[in-house]
């Protein structure tokens, strides 16, 4: 079985190389046969990598300790669920997942494009093969998941208990779906650059892929945040750690890209900007993978230091060189015939949105690399850390919220003053009222006031858009309220789906603001029967309990929670000590509500029955997760193919005309 695994990796590498070479020969000689065999060998690579994935999963679940990877990541008592997730808890396994997803996505792209994009596809396949060659080579030559241990063990060293959480099962794969997903629009961009077919075709053909990658990268980050909140026992959800930043950056650039492509699709502008954005997104996904694996930037998350660093760096350099060489040599083809007409237009507000997002990316990049740069320049490592990120990203975030409210209400090309006033009168009134109410309610922190009231402003603009669209349908199409709303949203999925995504984002912003600025915490040593108060909560320590399971020894404190004198039940925060890994984990108790979470940590306890309890009130934190659910559902909705339209992405010209017509119809009706 081990041999089969090793052979399937070798076959995958051979197939990826063959596919790349055959595609290039096919392109040079205009030979359909070569191109076809290149495409087929991508399928073969997928089959080979699937075999490897399956074999490694079986080895992990059956605990086949002959494999080094298995011995290092699972143990006899580990449940199969987590044994399977060990597939991506280590270096080799997670790279295998990367390569496998890439082969899966590449195969899907080939199937999707059987009858379209015939000119682009060979280049897309060649680019994807190139990326695949890199990842599969790492698996074959550097960090082989099927490497054998060489001696026999009867017990593995197990999965770190901190990783034994549902978060571990979903967080890394979700991020990988995002990371790998961006390889598709990137490859199409490279194809478009080489063939100089730089209209919107490559963007339209990969729009769903981009949304898909963007969604899973974002959701992966949110799952990571929730996992940190629940598991790590410090009550935070984001620490500006380099590894976290590494997965935030491509998401931010991806967000900019998703917005600015609309300008290219509609006005045929910003071509060079869009190509550059998608190239940057992909570069940042590789950079993220590099940061996680090289150990070059001190992080609490990174895999052990390894010799993968220089290899990733070289690959990164290659991508940067090729992409920018292509962009530079194609700069004339990337020029647009059109100009921005007015500063008061949808285009220019999108442009500002882009600038601010890119500003945020540079802020994160600057803060992440600052220690490395300072060490290289002055010989001392200087960190900037969380204070820097907060100083810089909070105002940027607020500016972004403001633009989210303004953008969709300004018309394309040139907004008239009357149009502007009409659209903004009600939302502005809402903004002012919200600001005053929040101020009277006692919020004095300027940034929080802005973040809350602007989020409410954005939501009100969106509600108004839904209202106007529905009202127009009710009036002109004689539809009732429900049908009007339903048809409006179903007909213009992209637009209204986008609005719903914005609502999700606003909830996330509100949650982040509440949980960061208004948290309260208190720590107290309690004897049995003692109680402590935090805000309007009262916690009474009822007693502690100590027992042993097969995996760990547990120490549990039992507390009664009361809020304003009303009994809310029992909380049981605990500490668990895992024998095998000699690792303690703190299991917090969280009582969630719409307004706030009560977060209780058992910091310590002794054999006299005394415990040290830390309690925190995290206001509005649940809104982050709810915003995430909305974001997820709304993005899926936006991506969902409409039944009525006949393959709109096929003919670029038509798509543009279509949306323009629809848009103007809506405008007229609204």
């Amino acid at each position: 079985m081990i041999i089969v695994g090793q052979i399937s990796l070798a076959i995958a590498l051979a197939m990826a190389i063959y596919s790349g070479v055959a595609s290039i020969i096919g392109i040079k000689n205009r030979s359909g046969q070569y191109l076809e065999s290149g495409r087929r060998s991508i399928f073969s690579a997928f089959v080979a990598l699937s075999t490897a994935m399956m074999l490694l999963s079986i080895a992990l679940i059956t605990k086949d300790y002959r494999l080094e990877y298995v011995a290092e990541h699972v143990s006899n008592s580990l449940p199969s669920f987590y044994a399977f997730s060990a597939l991506w808890s280590g270096q080799a396994g997670s790279l295998l997942l990367w390569a496998w997803l890439l082969s899966l996505f590449s195969s899907l792209v080939i199937i999707q494009n059987k009858k379209k994009n015939l000119e682009l596809l060979p280049y897309v396949v060649a680019t994807l093969s190139g990326i695949m060659i890199f990842f599969v080579s790492l698996l074959v030559f550097v960090t082989n998941p099927f490497a054998t241990l060489g001696y026999s063990v009867t017990q593995g060293s197990g999965l770190n208990p901190l990783l034994q959480n549902p978060g571990m099962v979903f967080h890394p794969p979700s991020l990988y779906l995002g990371y790998v997903g961006f390889a598709i629009p990137f490859s199409f961009a490279i194809g478009a650059l080489i063939t100089r077919k730089l209209d919107s075709q490559w963007i339209l053909s990969t729009r769903r892929w981009t949304l898909f990658a963007w969604l899973f990268l974002g959701v992966g980050n949110l799952i990571g945040a929730k996992w940190a909140y629940v598991e790590l026992g410090w009550g935070g959800f984001w620490g500006w750690d380099p590894v976290e930043n590494a997965s935030l950056m491509p998401w931010l650039v991806g967000t900019a890209f998703l917005h600015s492509v609309m300008i290219q699709e509609r006005r045929d502008m910003l071509k060079i900007w869009n190509v550059t954005l998608i190239v940057f997104t992909f570069i940042l996904t590789i950079f993220g993978t590099f940061v996680t694996r090289s150990g070059i930037i001190a992080s609490v998350h990174s895999f052990g230091q390894s010799k993968l660093g220089p290899l990733f760096l070289s690959f990164l350099a290659l991508i940067i060189f090729v992409s920018f060489y292509l962009i530079y040599t194609r700069r004339k083809d990337l020029k647009s015939r059109y100009h921005l007409d007015s500063i008061l237009s949808r285009e220019s507000s999108f442009l500002f949105n882009n600038l601010i997002l890119i500003g945020a990316v540079f802020a994160v990049l600057w803060g992440t690399l600052f220690p490395m740069i300072s060490e290289a320049v002055i010989g001392t490592k200087i960190t900037v850390g969380a204070p820097f990120f907060n100083t810089v990203t909070v105002p940027i975030g607020i500016a972004l919220i403001l633009l989210t409210g303004i953008c969709p209400l300004i018309s394309w090309r040139k907004a008239s003053v009357s149009n502007f006033t009409k659209n903004f009168l009600i939302p502005s009134a809402v903004l002012v009222v919200a600001f005053i109410i929040l101020f009277v309610a006692g919020i004095r922190d300027f940034y929080s006031l802005m973040a809350f009231s602007l989020s409410i402003f954005v939501i009100s603009t969106i509600v108004l858009e839904f209202y106007r669209g529905t009202a127009a349908r009710m009036k002109y199409n004689n539809e009732n309220l429900f049908n009007g709303l339903k048809n409006l949203v179903l007909k213009y999925r992209r637009r209204y789906g986008g609005y719903l995504i914005h609502i999700g984002m606003m909830l996330i912003f509100i949650g982040i603001t509440g949980a960061t600025v208004f948290k309260v915490e208190k720590e107290k040593v309690l004897r049995k029967g003692d109680s402590m108060a935090i805000k309007n909560y009262k916690l009474t320590f009822l007693g502690s309990d100590n027992f042993k399971t097969q995996l760990a020894e547990k120490f549990i404190a039992t507390l009664k929670i009361e809020k304003d004198g009303k009994n809310l039940g029992i909380a049981t925060p605990s500490k668990e000590y895992y024998y095998l890994q000699k690792q303690t984990t703190t299991e917090v108790s969280i009582t969630s509500g719409i307004k706030e979470d009560l977060y209780i940590i058992l910091a310590g306890g002794d054999n006299t029955g005394t415990v040290n309890i830390k309690a925190k009130i995290n206001p509005l934190i649940g809104w982050i997760w709810w915003g995430g659910y909305i974001l997820f559902a709304a993005t899926i909705f936006t991506m969902w193919p409409s039944k009525k339209k006949k393959k709109p992405a096929l003919i670029p010209g038509k798509e543009k005309v279509n949306t323009k017509n629809l848009e103007s119809k809506i405008k007229v009706k609204g």
Partner: protein, 141 residues
Amino acid sequence: MNLKKPKFIIGLTVILIALGSLFYLGTKTSMMAYLKVRDLNNPQKNILSSKVVKVTGTVKPGSIKSSNVNRTFKFILQDSDSANISIPVVFNGIVPDNFRSGNIAVVRGELNAENVFIADQLQAKCPSKYEASVPNEGEGK
């Protein structure tokens, strides 16, 4: 794309200046030296005027002592390369789960008059050096 209209230039300039000043201010106010234990008293490495620094090192095996039901922690932080250079550290607060003897820790704080490092923040590293430490950690090395 024509960005030569004065209004655009003004808009772009305003954004760039705002971002630039944010970067500058943010960097200036949050810089902190990140030192190895052996460089703590080295003026060539500890170059910033602030006494508050971050120090990284290895927690000396067996040196962790907690008191007051895990509220105060005292331990010895060794230089990760030369174990004979070390400093005593006192930290008040909750330690992360992966803080234990022999692991790498990063503390933030300053040395007091008795040459004890008073930390107000403690991070531990390596749990999610997801690769566990087994007999032979051969992978990728």
